[in-house]
Point group: C2
Chain length 206, copies 2
Amino acid sequence: MRNIADNTVRRLSLYLRFLEEFQHQGATTVSSEALAGRGGTTSAQVRKDLSFFGSFGKRGLGYPVPQLIKRLREILGLGRRYKVVVVGAGKIGSALVQYRGFHERGFDIVAIYDEDPAKVGKPWNGLVVQDAALFEKEAAELAPDIAVIVTPGEAAQGIADRVVRCGVQAILNFAPVQLQVPEHVTVKAVNLVLELEALSFALASR
Amino acid sequence: MRNIADNTVRRLSLYLRFLEEFQHQGATTVSSEALAGRGGTTSAQVRKDLSFFGSFGKRGLGYPVPQLIKRLREILGLGRRYKVVVVGAGKIGSALVQYRGFHERGFDIVAIYDEDPAKVGKPWNGLVVQDAALFEKEAAELAPDIAVIVTPGEAAQGIADRVVRCGVQAILNFAPVQLQVPEHVTVKAVNLVLELEALSFALASR
């Protein structure tokens, strides 16, 4: 399954969200057209995406909502909970922790680290900020699945190297650098300034 | 310039950031190798990206840092300031406002709107939350360049339709839906749950 394109995975996540909405509204089946309309894609794309993962739905009857939800959750690895550590006790991490859907989806923030002595020991959304120097020691016990890196750019690669050495195989990076990691590690990056600059580029190119 | 790929624009943003760091360290020229090494790409890619926009740098001498910064800022549309309105007075919008680099890069949040009467009138990072019903009236005066949509998913398309009708041509969308907009409008989306699910997918696919 590792060769499924990123964009396909994103659409699967969106389908799951829409299916949950349909279920909430009492629907038991849904057509590929309805899913496509909700998500800004085409029904042919929906059928193609879902056909990757076996045969659901019958022509003319639509997809059975609960079964498709269950299957998508399995595919997306949402049948379990994930332990998430945050490195960098700033505003973005705080927003993340309170982001509706983070906990709902099975992502539990179990520890938060910072290098700044002024922040270490402070309460932080139900946790206490730990000294980043303790990361390796604690990681051996916590065995985190995912690290969220919210440090300044210049610190991010060093932190990434450390979390990878501790066995973390998935990183969500908010620092404005492209991290270098071994092939078995997956990095997803969110860089708000890059998104804004893509918009200013688009506006300037008109 | 409208056909420059999104990924190229992202790399240009990163090059700009790295060049500013090199300048800060006193460098007056930089090689494509140094830029590539800083950004996790190859020197051939750097040369290809920059060659799109005319000839900088001489073989063996590297790129002149101040000129390249100036040119990249022009290309990325950063020679002016942008008026940004935020719709949805939640945590993410708050984190954005305080995000280092947002203001530095020329993005000024000039207004914040919400539909919730409990939020309207409240102070919000130096602004006061306005009633979303007033958006059209105020937009006529403010002429915002960019709208940041941070509403729940079910409200986002309606808000997008309204900001587009007011002449906004660039949207940064945090709501978990794919917005439908006319072709002259550019949308960039940030969906943290999708990023996390891409990571759980990767972990589950091992």
